[in-house]
Amino acid sequence: MTAVDIIQSEGATNRLAINVRNLSVALAGSSDVVVDDVSFTLRPGEILGLVGESGSGKTTVGLAMLGYSRRGLDIIAGSVVIGGEDILTLSDEQRRLARRSLISYVPQDPATALNPTLRLRTQLSESFADPAEATEDRLLQMLAEVKLPATSAFLHRFTHQLSGGQQQRIAIAMAFAHRPHVIVMDEPTTGLDVTTQSHILETIRHLCRQHHVAAVYVSHDLAVVGGLADRVAVMYAGRILELGAAERVLRRPDHPYTQALIRAVPDLKGRTTIQGIPGQAPDPHHRPTGCAFAARCNMAADSCRQQAVPSLHTADNHVVQCLFPGEHRDRLAPVSNDWQAVPMASAVTALSVADLTAFHGSRQILQGITLEVPRQTCLALVGESGSGKTTLARSIAGLHHDLTGQLSFNGQDLPIGSRNRSRDLRRRIQYVFQNPYASLNPRRSIGRSLEVALLEFEKLPGVALRERVIAALESVALPARFASLYPHQLSGGQRQRAAIARALVLEPEFLICDEVTSALDVSVQAVVVDLLRRLQHERGLAMLFVTHNLALVRNIAQQVAVLQSGRIVEQGDALDVLERPQAEETLRLLRDAPHFELGETTERDLPVNRGIVAVAKGLQSTALAG
């Protein structure tokens, strides 16, 4: 049975909501494809999770379905048939109408997608061609659908009077207004807190089911997609490598990339240690003729590189672009959960914070924070956005000045503000920033950035300077040649490693990591976390690891503190807190964190530390039962 046969038989039995065939998008004026021959179909009410890392082309596919391509990109081939019409062949005016009735779009950031000068009443009415259609009743019904207060007073509000989650609900309401055949959602919950996210996902699922609207949910987050989608498509370097039922793709993945990706996702229950994917995806200019993943695949054969890999359709409507689908699962290196075997930290305190209260102008951000980080220990600071975790990290780093309280480092008083600190203290406490795209001076080579930092503390001759810089780069697994590269020539993960190297070259004792992986793809996040863990062991570093991702805590920290509205609501040993959470906030974070369970197959493939599994099961019964 060929692909076409499957499609036709599908078409015969079920009306398709959307049929995307051989869609290709290329950089304008060249043959460098960003999206390469993508095909899929959706039935009414079905949700497809389009998963991929940065640069995989998932957003481009989502936009191309609306007949739209970003500047610099051209849709060069394919068809997108919705309700009998090929969106790509319509005139601009017809396409405009189609975007109202056939297919609609929910953007990533509702704050910028909604017009801030309009009241919700006007905003919502805009989704109707005929203003007469936008009756008060209809608008209230739209609000009710997305579980917003259906009152006239609410319609009278402006978007800035809404929370991020409420804004996104408005955008979703507008997308559903015409009951289109298909809705494309581009990471609509990224940037929302886990609790808000889980509620919005629930609403989306409900609306799609109820109104038989098919949805393509574009996301980088496997866990979110796993909880929402009926089917999952995994994209890599512009191609769909694997497509099938969500259960099947996430539990018994056939493609080595899917398998690796799943291994990189931190597991909330800590059964596995996250494992990164070495290397990086090929950019559109250098896509290989063979399998795009071959260069990073540890089971690639010569044949993978030589020829274009055909899509293999199996009987259970599963499509995989691999010459050896599902084979060699056992060849993947087993991962042990040995990070717990760190010689537990000495009892000597490295950093202590006593009764710290911080303000931003007149707003109080932190209240009475008391915290201790023992030497050689990693303390994870967890909390939702706005809980004050970055302010706390910055206060310790000396970047936030508006605070009262006592800070001390190794028993020594730690003044507020980096400029009031001794040169030695400034060297021993280092800060790694969240966004690797902003933390390195773009006009300076990586090596020079490290040198400049080092020269602030030591007057070294050129040769010695160079040696120290290269040693630091090598300690983060960047070859010496990176010293002469500029930040824009590096990928996000490489930049973050370079930023870590810049901290390490100063030989610190205490490292503050502020959401250092949140800007990175999961496969890269795993690499960076692994690096930090190794550095902690090798150098006996104490660390403050700020994160909103509870699942990550198990992979790096020995201790954890949970922050809520500027207060620490719970702190203790990482395993204790995650397994037997006491505070309401911790329970809520654990409950709402998106997660998917690795299937039995994967568990069998990965002989993990059995003790941890047992503990993790305990967690399941205590924390997640409710």
Partner: protein
Amino acid sequence: MTLWPRYLRSGSAIFSTVLLTIVFLTTIIGPFFAPASSLDFIGAPFQGPNAHAWLGTDVLGRDVLSRILQGGYRILGLAAAATALGVLAGILLGMAAGYIKGAVDEIIMRLLDVVLAFPQIILALLFVSIIGPVPWLIVLIVAGFHAPQVARVARAATLRVVEEDYVRFAETIGMPRLRILVQEIFPNIMTPLIVEAGLRFTYSIALIAGLNFLGLGTQPPIPDWGLMINENRIGMATNPWPVVVPVLLIALLTIGTNLLADAIGRAAFGLDRGSRETQPASSDETATVQA
């Protein structure tokens, strides 16, 4: 440099380069080819073009072509000096305001607003009538007009860069503030400032030509394009060339500089955008940053 190919691909860049080459050749090499002295009387006033004087004669019977060829470098020199001075002052004030913030920022910017509030020509008139039409005064006045505008651009750019994490990092390691300004901030606000400097040069030319036209700048009998327009207005009907050619040259110079600044800006900003594109799907990236 990766900037060059992108720059050369844009049509307006090539066009502006051609325009500026014409004007600069006229002013710099021109004086050596002047057929006559710019001060000698070679015939009756306002003669039309003839074999003797290709562009005819001016209000006093001097050779128009020679006066045009010799009347450009002064305005270019003054404009360049005024631009350099004004941009430099503007950058220093703007960066100081943007980096130190607070009261210093308020004081600097409000004072500059006061300067901006004065009508430029009238202020120039006041100073020239007190001190006299000397070149350094023209340079100072024009520079004084530019400084507030440049300062605003520099301040806005500085405010943006100060929030970048690499500046924060420099703060955490206690890098001296002056070094932060010079090493971390300045290189990263260069692009908008280069564009601004180009625009300022255009304004300088227009302003100086205007002052000369009003008789507040270069004094007769020195040849000068702005001054020539004024001197020869009355003879427009008999010999338009001593007015038309200087007007054309000033226009070419202004348009050329403007387009060039634009093209450089686009090439440089484009370069920045391009470097972000090497991180494909930047939307994904920002998405996760927000998270």
